[in-house]
């Protein structure tokens, strides 16, 4: 048989979120659940090489951990009477699963949804929500999460401890919120998932491997959510958006780390499977007629992804989608993107005047993409002098080295000479 350690690891990767979600429900404690799962994994390492791999390895681990929980409650209950109630409850649920050794007949309900909502409860700060989601549902180890977010390991460990303690001591409920609170709470969950994705997608510092893993993890979480809440079109939109963005991953930066714009990317290397799935998802979502910001962003990404070449992009459609997006999510950044789409569809002149109007509000003055977009339009119009000064503003504001390099290249192209910092 395969190396049992590798097998246990792969089961863990796939199933740990579901296992831990059930164990938290059974024990009422994140810590006890983690402990019991660790012990069960050790049991698996000892048993599987001899007796063979059970048909449903995840359920096997859950059942073994469940028994360990009951044992530990029994030990404790000798000391404190209070635990009797829990023991009784735990045994009851055990009796409902009498065939604990025949893994195939065993069914634990899927508790991942309630785990998701608890981890993303607004009473926890956003950093803690992200860390806890990755730790419990993603099964990422604390050092991995720390590296991904460029935080010292003890800091990340503390963040997790604090979050778990708050859940326990303030008694944040372990349940799926009622329908009237669902939209608000689901927004919070989607924010966390998309933040995980963007952390992996946009930042260029830190290990590439971990960043890729974060994107995949976010997509995996969105897939689980979409399966568990199939009637929520925004979840489909979020999953579609991430798949469509991820499809371009290989072409966004050259091997030397140079940024490649959408216009210049090698479309033959875009991931067709992700594009197909993303497009299908966003189409299904839009048919539900409950449009939201993730669906609209996904629709825009789908138009880009399905254009045979940059020149054949349907900019009129994209401008219309951005207009729609402005009505549901009116941010200056969306307005900027709308202006660029107008420039590409109705004429650069018209787009530039929209951008200059945005300039008056001052909201975007510190946003490097604002200056970069303006510079780009000016360059296309042949207004080199003004383009140079806009590129210079953008370079000053960009914090990411890859983006700075790209802008410096453009600056040279429009005759602005080499960038001298300072």
């Amino acid at each position: 048989m395969a190396d049992p350690r590798a097998l246990v690891e792969s089961v863990f990767r796939e199933e740990s979120g579901r296992i831990i979600a059930t164990l938290i429900r059974l024990s009422g404690s994140f810590d006890k659940a983690e402990e019991a799962m660790q012990e069960a994994l050790i049991s698996a390492l000892g048993t599987w090489p001899e007796k063979g791999i059970p048909n449903n390895p995840g359920a096997w681990i859950t059942a073994v951990a469940h028994r360990k929980l009951i044992d530990s409650v029994r030990k404790e209950s000798i000391r404190t009477e209070k635990e009797d109630a829990l023991l009784y409850e735990t045994e009851l649920s055990q009796r409902r699963n009498p065939a604990a050794d025949e893994d195939t007949s065993m069914q634990y309900p899927d508790d991942r949804l309630r785990l998701m909502f608890t981890c993303c409860h607004p009473a926890l700060n956003l950093d803690a929500q992200v860390a806890l989601t990755l730790r419990t549902l993603g099964g990422l180890a604390t050092p991995e999460i720390a590296r991904a977010f460029l935080v010292p390991e003890p800091t990340m460990a503390q963040r997790l401890v604090r979050a778990k303690r708050k859940i326990q001591e303030a008694r944040i409920p372990y349940e799926v919120p009622p329908p009237e609170k669902m939209p608000e709470r689901l927004d919070a969950v989607m924010t966390v998932v998309y933040l995980v994705f963007n952390e992996g997608y946009s930042a260029t510092s830190g290990s590439l491997l971990i960043r890729r893993e974060l994107c995949q993890e976010a997509i995996r979480l969105a897939r689980i959510l979409e399966q568990l809440l199939p009637s929520e079109p925004e979840l489909k939109g979020l999953l579609a958006l991430m798949l469509l963005q991820d499809s371009r991953r290989e072409t966004r930066v050259t091997e030397k780390g140079v940024l490649v714009t959408l216009e210049e990317q090698d479309r033959s290397r875009w991931d067709r499977n992700e594009i197909r799935e993303g497009t299908r998802l966003v189409e299904t979502a839009l048919r539900q007629r409950r449009v939201g910001p993730y669906q609209l962003q996904a629709a825009i990404a789908a138009v880009h992804a399905n254009a045979a070449s940059s020149a054949e992009t349907d900019w009129t459609e994209i401008a219309a989608l951005y207009r729609e997006l402005m009505s549901v999510a009116p941010t200056p950044v969306v307005a900027l993107n709308h202006a660029v789409a107008v420039a590409m569809s109705e004429g650069i002149e018209r787009g530039l005047s929209l951008i200059d109007e945005l300039d008056k509000s001052g909201d975007l003055d510190h946003y490097y993409l604002f200056h970069a977009a303006r510079a780009d339009l000016l360059r296309r119009m042949g207004r080199q002098q003004e383009a140079c000064s806009a590129y210079r503003s953008a370079i000053r504001l960009a914090t990411n080295e890859v983006e700075q390099e790209y802008l410096k290249r453009r600056l040279v192209e429009v005759g602005g000479g080499a960038w001298v910092s300072g």
Binding site: H121, A123, A170, R171, I172, P173, K181
Partner: protein, 135 residues
């Protein structure tokens, strides 16, 4: 789990117009009645403004009596509720119904779970508790 809902408000805006104050009081009465009927009410009281506050502080082992509140912040503790709730979401539900206009301005509610501890009466004045309270 028992929660304490601490109501913080701006103090410097003067008393609200009488009709606003009356509305707030009525809303508080409704909430208290409802909580009592449900058997989850553990008390609720408004506080006098911080101009009446006295702070007792321990400095280098000595107690110092000071005029004024514990901290000079924009919003000051104005009153509290103690409610026995199923979980944090239920406590948030109650907190979101609290009127915040009694003090005349904006405000916020801090929700804190109450630690359960049994306090044996004969030990209550012993030093360990004093250090615990100061710590």
């Amino acid at each position: 789990m028992r929660y304490m809902l601490l109501i913080y408000q701006k103090e410097n805006e003067g008393p609200p117009p009488p009709e606003v104050a009356e509305q707030s009081m009525a809303a508080h009465r409704v909430l208290m009645e409802e909580a009592k009927k449900l058997g989850i009410f553990g008390g609720a009281e408004p506080l006098q403004p911080t101009s009446t506050a006295t702070t007792l502080r321990t400095r280098e082992g000595k107690r110092v009596i000071l005029d004024g509140p514990f901290a000079e912040t924009k919003e000051q503790l104005a009153g509290y509720y103690i409610l026995d709730c199923k979980d944090l979401d239920e406590a948030i539900g109650w907190a979101s119904r609290l009127p915040l206009r009694c003090g005349g301005g904006e405000g916020c509610v801090e929700i804190r779970p109450i630690r359960s501890m049994s306090l044996p009466s004969d030990e209550a004045s012993q030093p360990p508790y004093a250090s615990a309270l100061n710590g």
